[in-house]
Amino acid sequence: KLRAATRADGLSTDEKLTPYEHVTGYNNFYEFGLGKDDPRARAQNLKTDPWSVEISGEVHKPGTYQLEDILKGVDLEERIYRLRCVEAWSMVIPWVGFPLAELLKRFEPKGNARYVAFTTLHDPEQMPGQRSRFGTIDWPYVEGLRMDEAMHPLTLLAVGVYGDALPPQNGAPLRLVVPWKYGFKSIKSIVRIHLTEQMPPTSWNRTAPQEYGFYANVNPAVDHPRWSQSTERRLPSSLFSPNIIDTQPFNGYGEQVAQLYSGMDLRKWY
């Protein structure tokens, strides 16, 4: 159980929640296998305590910090966000966490920090998917944001879901949630946060650059080369009325974030 978190109403949607069972039983977390039910089945022994996070690069206070120290004095909030997967399904999830901006400010980014790079735990002993020889992803999983995206109030570091601590399959003990981007940007089980001047490499972009860009903003107008992004199926979908809904630009968060990309050609910077 987490400390009682107050709901950030202004930043939350009031859409119907995807049930806990599905939020925690239908996951893409390839470190634990390719099936949607693999993470729940195979992640339960992930050791998340103790957990430390390395903060490095262009910050005045680099170092390796214990998670409990990172969370000291942090006010947890509940945020109900839409999550749009690049595979064209979506959920509505009540996360518990705090703005990434708060954390970054504490470590005092230098003026030349333009990007934030994140790394997931690399531990093939605990993560069977990292032992597979037939995968296409180079481990560890890495992701990144531009500094202004990272500092945006919507950008969340989550430690819980549905009022409880994150289960391992959802990226325990600390994960990113960037609701206006495809789900794969929201990196799980973070062990390193690195501030840098250069645009950092990101896992899916390295795997298939023509399919996954650095920005990966939800955009119904730009299709994935192999499937359409103009609609999504809101889960759980029932068989005879598949919950097909239109996908919104920036996953419906355009009012808050569109200005971050003004002047950019979103077809080029997909």
Binding site: T18, E21, H22, G25, Y26, Y30, L34, K36, D37, E87, W89, M91, S132, F134, G135, T136, I137, T207, D223, R226, W227, S228, T231, R233, L235, P236, S237, S238, L239, F240, S241, P242, I244
Partner: protein, 202 residues
């Protein structure tokens, strides 16, 4: 085993027994997925699970149908030959259900989505083409059509080879990460088709 299967086929009862085992046994995948769906055990996205499941069984039945000749020649399973049509028809059966499941559970029969998927998505066009090509093979699989078409029957049914390659391409094109499964099916198909080339050229 080989001997006993051959012996079994000498009696009407024996033939009937094997036929029923294959016929009803082939309905087990459909029965299983229906049962799981009714019990709501397919998770958050039952549509995707059902579609994938039916698709993979269509592919398996096509591969099984293609194994009849090698099984006969290499393992002496001569008795299997008489069930090849049934196995092939099951491939068409599961492929049709797969397609129906996509249209119903994933696209909800929305005309705009159907049109878009069928015209814009290469992997869907490839899969759909494979299904279209399978239909005439299914229709002409009866003995009557075999007689009527004579030599042309063989030419027509040669299509099963390009169809199998289209099916493999359709499957491989869907992969996001992890190609182990598709690699296994590709290797099996390489053997099944390679064996025929070997028969032709040796």
């Amino acid at each position: 085993m080989v001997l006993s299967m051959t012996a079994l086929h000498r009696s009407t009862a024996g033939r009937w027994l094997v036929w029923s085992c294959l016929f009803f046994g082939s309905l087990i995948p459909l029965g299983w997925i229906t049962w799981e769906a009714v019990q709501q055990r397919l998770g958050a996205d039952p549509a995707q699970v059902i579609v994938t499941f039916l698709g993979i069984w269509a592919l398996r039945y096509l591969w099984i149908t293609l194994s009849v000749t090698p099984a006969r020649r290499l393992l002496g399973f001569g008795w299997l030959q008489r069930y090849r049509r049934m196995l092939g028809l099951y491939a068409l059966f599961y492929a049709s259900l797969h397609l129906l499941a996509v249209a119903t559970f994933i696209l909800g029969w929305r005309p705009d989505l159907l049109l878009r998927e069928l015209t814009e998505r290469p992997y869907i066009i490839v899969g759909f083409t494979a299904w279209l090509l399978l239909i005439p093979l299914g229709i002409t699989s009866t003995r009557g059509w075999q007689r009527r078409l004579g030599k042309r029957w063989k030419t027509l049914h040669w299509l099963v080879y390009p169809i199998s390659l289209l099916v493999l391409l359709h499957f491989a094109w869907l992969i996001r990460a992890g190609y182990l499964e598709v690699l296994i099916y590709a290797l099996v198909l390489a053997f099944l088709l390679g064996y025929r080339l070997y028969l032709k050229w040796r």
